[in-house]
Chain length 306, copies 2
C-alpha cells in the first residue's frame, strides 16, 4: 500500500487499469510498425498476452524483447512486467463483465438504423478513450493559464476550426476574452501581440498543420503560454506547446472519416477546459452563466414550466 502511494506521487502518471485499449487506440498512430504489431496483439488478446513472457510476446509478434518493452513504456507502464499485470486485470475484467460490443465497420449497404447505432457507438468509444487518456495534470495547467489570461487566441482550420469557435463561444460567455483564428496570416498577426499571461491554443488532429503551428510558434516565442490540443502528442506542434492535451481517434475508414471522431474528442477536451475555467473563475463566471441560462430558459419554453 505504501508503495502504491509513493509510486503515484513519484511517477505522476499512474498506469492505466482498464483504459488500456483506449491508450492503444490513442497512441497507435505515433507508434512504429513493430510497436503497432505488439500493441495490436496486446489489445486483441489481453488474456493470451498476459500469459506470455517478454520473449514469448516478442516471438508471437515477430519482434524483439526490446520492442516489447518499448511498447509497454509508450503505453505508460514502467516496463513489461507492469503491462503484463494490467493485462491480467483487463482480462479478468472483461471476462467478468460483458462481451465487447460489435464494432463492425460501416458498409455502403448498411441500413440507416445500423448507421445510427454504429456511429453512436463509435463516438461513445471515442469519448471514453479520450477521457481515459487525457492527462489531467496538463489539463489543470492549461485551465489555470486560461483562467489567469488577459487574452486567449485559438487556432484551428477545417473541422478543428469549428472546435476552436466552439471554445470561443463558451469562453466568451464567462467573460474570457477569446478569439478564434482560421486565417493563418491574421493568426500570426494576432500572435505577435501576445505576451506572458496570454494564452494561445492550437487545435490540430494531425499535429502537423502548418497553418496552426506557425501562429503557435510565434505566440510561444513571444512568451505566451501555449497549449496544443492534438491527436499526435509527438507531432511537430508540441514543440511549441507548454501544455499538450491529447485527443484520441478511433480507427477511421472511408465512410467514417477521421474528422468525425477527432472532432468528438476535441470537443470533449474543449468542454473540459471550459468547465475547468468556469470553476476557477466562478465568482465572475456565475452571473454570466445564470444570465444566459435564464435568458435561454425564458426564451425557449415560456409556458412549459421547467
Amino acid at each position: 500500500m505504501t508503495q502504491d502511494v509513493k509510486e503515484i506521487f513519484a511517477g505522476g502518471a499512474p498506469p492505466a487499469p482498464a483504459a488500456l485499449a483506449a491508450k492503444v487506440r490513442t497512441l497507435a498512430p505515433s507508434m512504429t510498425r513493430s510497436m503497432q504489431r505488439v500493441a495490436e496483439a496486446v489489445a486483441g488478446d489481453p488474456a493470451g498476452c498476459a500469459a506470455l513472457t517478454v520473449t514469448g510476446l516478442a516471438e508471437l509478434t515477430g519482434t524483439s524483447e526490446a520492442t516489447v518493452v518499448r511498447t509497454a513504456r509508450l503505453l505508460g507502464y514502467p516496463g513489461y512486467r507492469d503491462l503484463r499485470l494490467a493485462l491480467a486485470g483487463l482480462a479478468a475484467q472483461q471476462q467478468s463483465g460483458r462481451a465487447p460490443a460489435v464494432t463492425a465497420d460501416i458498409a455502403v449497404d448498411d441500413p440507416i438504423a445500423d448507421v445510427v447505432a454504429k456511429l453512436a457507438y463509435d463516438e461513445q468509444q471515442t469519448l471514453a478513450d479520450t477521457a481515459a487518456a487525457l492527462d489531467t495534470a496538463q489539463l489543470g495547467a492549461a485551465v489555470a493559464a486560461i483562467a489567469a489570461a488577459r487574452r486567449v487566441d485559438i487556432y484551428g482550420v477545417g473541422a478543428s476550426g469549428l472546435v476552436a469557435q466552439d471554445l470561443v463561444q463558451k469562453l466568451m460567455r464567462i467573460g474570457v476574452m477569446a478569439h478564434a483564428h482560421s486565417d493563418p496570416h491574421l493568426a500570426v498577426t494576432g500572435a505577435v501581440q501576445l505576451r506572458a499571461k496570454d494564452v494561445a491554443i492550437a487545435i490540430t488532429h494531425s499535429g502537423s498543420t502548418g497553418d496552426v503551428i506557425e501562429p503557435l510558434r510565434v505566440a510561444f516565442e513571444h512568451g505566451a503560454t501555449t497549449v496544443a490540443v492534438t491527436g499526435r502528442p509527438s507531432g511537430p506542434v508540441t514543440q511549441y506547446a507548454d501544455h499538450v492535451l491529447t485527443t484520441s481517434a478511433a480507427r477511421e475508414s472511408e465512410l467514417r472519416p477521421a474528422a468525425m471522431s477527432s472532432r468528438t474528442s476535441q470537443l470533449l477536451v474543449v468542454d473540459c477546459l471550459f468547465v475547468g475555467v468556469a470553476q476557477r473563475t466562478y465568482e465572475t463566471a456565475a452571473p454570466a452563466l445564470s444570465a444566459s441560462y435564464e435568458a435561454l430558459a425564458h426564451r425557449h419554453s415560456p409556458r412549459t414550466g421547467r
Copy 2:
C-alpha cells in the same frame, strides 16, 4: 518447459481466477504459521500485494521468498509470478465492481479528473439517448432528399451554427452543394431562391429560434424540402418542416450548459445525415472520400505506414 511438466504431474489443477479468498480459507488450516501470514496478506489486499515483488511480499509478511513461493504453490499456482497475475486480475475485478458514481452533477469544487469523467459520461449518455430516440424513417427521408438535392441550405445560429458548418464541410467533401447561413437576412435571401428538389435544414435546439425559423419558412413556401433538427419536436420550427429529426439533451445545469449536450446530439444527427448521403451517392462520393483520406494520410503520417 520444466515448469509445465512439473505442473502436469503435480495435479493438473488450473490456477484459480477469483476464487482466491475461498482457497485461502479452505487451505489455511493446513498451512504453517509463516504461510498463513502470507496468505492472509494476499487475501486481505490483493491490489496491494499485486504491486509487490516476491521479496517485497516476504518482507511485508516478515518471511522469506521461499515461503512466499511455497504459499503460492499451495494455493494452486505454479509459482509466485502466476499468483501475482491472478492477484492483479482480482484487484481489477474488485475495482470495476465499484460504482461509477459519475452521475452526480458537476460541482464548483470538483477535481479536474471528476470533471473529465462526468462530462465524458454525460456526452456518452446523450449519444445513446439520441440514437435511441432518432426516427430512422425521418432520417432516411431527409437523406434521400439531400442526396437528390441540387442545393442544400443550412440555417443555424450560435452553437448550432457550428453544427451547420460542420455538416457543410462534410457535404462539400462529397460533392453536395451546401451552404451554411448564420446571418438571418442572407439566409432569407438565399431561401427565396430555393425550389423543389432543393433542401433547407434548420438546426435549433430550442425549436423556437426566430432567426432560423424564418428562412426555413421561406424555403418551405417556395417548395423546397425542409428538415428541422431540433430538441423540441413540438416547437414552432416543425411547423415548416417536412422532416423532423429530434435531438435529445441530457439535463443541464449551471456548469453544464445546454449547449454542450445539445451540440453533441446535433452532431450525431448530422453525422448520420452525412454517412447516409455518402452511402446513397457512393458512386460519386467515393472518389472524393478516398482522395481526402489519402491526402490526409499522406500528409500526416508519411512514415508510420498503415
